[in-house]
């Protein structure tokens, strides 16, 4: 099979090039002085001009702040509700409405965003007319809508983690006389913590990135960063968006690489400790 290695590697190389060339080219042209963005102005480039412009843009900075608030709030809400749903679905066996709950959990994963958006908006409108809450649309409605669609991801992540570990641990604790609440906080919760954390991160990213659903449920004065970017980008490329994209890509890349290295290190530490424990025992 080794004579095929070159074929596989070249396909992989092509695919990765396809994934990365657009991002890299976008970053490259953020240092271009020309307004035309993709026509390289060799005399005056590279320049940080667009980065300076970006940090003077109150509107974009304000939208970014709104986005961070919404993403943090909705990720936390989604982490709590998604974990509860995951627990209920894996631990409590068959109960009335289990299939319904399970179907509803995974539905937002594949539901087209426009449908989610329109459904959420009509619901908010109907609620407002019936009980007067939520009054108007803005940060609150965006946050609720984001919780709804991101908790599905948390549920799936938590569910697969719960399915992966042995519930004998919980049973043992119960047999030894621990109360159910103690079992949950001492055993179950620490065990699924990594899944909750990665679910939270996923929810944060999805909320931070969402434009379609936000557009439906937002009100005046609550434009998120993606909404701001979208309305600018529709008018064509603009150099300060390239600068913004570069900053965002670099933050994400650093975060992902750092967390991978950290996880690798934890893994190595654990292996080392296991080895030492083994060599200690005669």
């Amino acid at each position: 099979m080794n004579d095929r290695g070159w074929f596989r590697n070249s396909i992989l190389g092509l695919g990765l090039a396809f994934l990365y060339i657009p991002i890299l080219s976008m970053m490259f042209f953020s240092f271009n002085n020309s307004r035309l963005v993709t026509v390289w102005d060799a005399e005056n480039s590279p320049t940080l001009r667009w980065y300076v412009r970006l940090f003077e843009n109150e509107q974009l900075l304000g939208a970014a702040w709104i986005s961070i608030k919404i993403a943090a709030l909705s990720a936390s809400g989604a982490a709590i509700l998604g974990t509860l749903a995951g627990l209920v679905l894996t631990r409590f066996g068959p109960f009335r409405g289990r299939a319904l709950l399970s179907a509803m959990t995974t539905a937002p994963l594949v539901m087209p965003e426009v449908i989610m958006g329109i459904a959420m908006l009509l619901l908010f409108v109907a609620l407002e007319q019936m009980i007067g809450w939520p009054a108007g649309r803005g940060l609150l409605t965006i946050t609720i809508a984001h919780v709804t669609f991101t908790m599905a991801y948390v549920t799936v992540v938590v569910q697969s983690r719960l399915a992966g570990f042995d519930d004998a641990l919980e049973e043992a604790a119960l047999d030894l006389g621990a109360k159910p609440a103690t079992v949950f906080f001492k055993i179950t919760l620490p065990l699924i913590m990594p899944a909750i954390v990665s679910g939270w991160l996923l929810a944060f990213t999805l909320s931070w990135d969402d434009v379609v659903i936000s557009q439906f449920v937002s009100g005046p004065g609550s434009s998120t960063l993606p909404m701001e970017i979208f309305s600018r980008v529709r008018r064509g490329v603009s150099p300060d968006i390239n600068a913004l994209a570069t900053i965002m890509v670099l933050i994400v890349a650093t975060g992902v690489v750092a967390s991978t290295i950290w996880m690798k290190r934890q893994e190595r530490k654990r292996l080392l400790e296991e080895q030492m424990a083994r060599s200690d025992t005669p």
Partner: protein, 280 residues
């Protein structure tokens, strides 16, 4: 008793927050008509009549299906070899490749689509490069075409195709291929007789994960797509924000949902089976 009461309370509580997405249209749609008072009965069916009679809607539905299907096939053709190559590479490099595939997924979807405008536009990177190399002497029209939408969808959804394929291909028992080779099957034949059939669940999952959101895609066609032929997501939001015709927009949403019900159910069944399998 505690073990009985708590879950039910939780289910009850959660079912509230879940009812929200699972009720698209239905109740709010009816309620909306009640609110508009005079228009109640007449408007109701008329919305769906509009959908059936106006060829605009029919053609956008068909166009959306065509675009989604074509992009899904392209995604599979590119994603399968990539997933295969990753699954068969050395275990140490595998995680690196996987990280490289997932990394773009964490960066903003909107900005990744935006990046293609810079590449595809008339004085964009691709045209400039080809012109300066002397391969073409007129800039190609790439942006605002079907081609641009295909590229955008394949580019954005490629990780969704690769990951389920990879997790399937990685589990394959390679001794089956060795046995086939021993029995005289050529690698190509062994691939089509063994690897491909075994990887079918991954193929189905990947295709559904790309196809379903692609049908309702809104951002990609409005940034990269044609202006004379819209996709259903664009029409829906144009009806909603532009024409402010909420009832027709809702009817479009319901029709889209009905259209996608079968693939969505298929995907859920697949997901359920995967979970059950991992539990064993």
């Amino acid at each position: 008793m505690v073990f009985f009461a708590i879950p039910f309370a939780i289910v009850f509580k959660i079912s509230f927050s879940y009812m929200v997405p699972a009720q698209p249209g239905y109740a709010p749609l009816l309620e909306w008509f009640a609110e508009t008072q005079r228009l109640v009965a007449t408007f109701n069916l008329a919305n769906y009549q509009v959908l059936l009679q106006d060829t605009l809607y029919l053609s956008t539905f068909l166009y959306s299906l065509k675009v989604a299907a074509f992009s899904t096939v392209l995604c599979l053709l590119l994603g399968y070899p990539m997933a295969y190559a990753i699954a068969r590479s050395a275990p140490t490099t595998r995680n690196l490749f996987l990280m490289l595939i997932i990394l773009p997924f964490w960066t903003s979807f909107l900005l990744r689509v935006y990046a293609w405008i810079g590449l595809l536009k008339t004085n964009g990177v691709i045209n400039n490069t080809l012109l300066s190399l002397g391969i073409i002497d007129q800039p190609l029209v790439l942006l605002y075409t079907d081609f641009a939408v295909y590229v955008g969808i394949v580019y954005s959804y490629l990780p969704f195709m690769i990951l389920p394929l990879y997790s399937n291909l990685e589990k394959h028992d390679l001794t089956l291929l060795e046995a086939a080779a021993d029995l005289g099957a050529r690698p190509v034949k062994a691939f089509f007789k063994i690897t491909l059939p075994l990887s079918m669940p991954g193929v189905v999952a990947g295709c559904l994960l790309v196809f379903i959101p692609a049908v309702g895609e809104f951002v990609i066609p409005s940034l990269l797509g044609r202006t004379d032929q819209l996709m259903i997501g664009t029409v829906l939001s144009a009806q909603f924000f532009g024409a402010r015709n909420w009832p027709v927009a809702s009817a479009v949403a319901i029709a889209l949902l009905l259209l996608l019900l079968l693939p969505i159910l298929l995907f859920q069944r697949y997901q359920q089976r995967e979970l059950e399998a991992s539990r064993r």
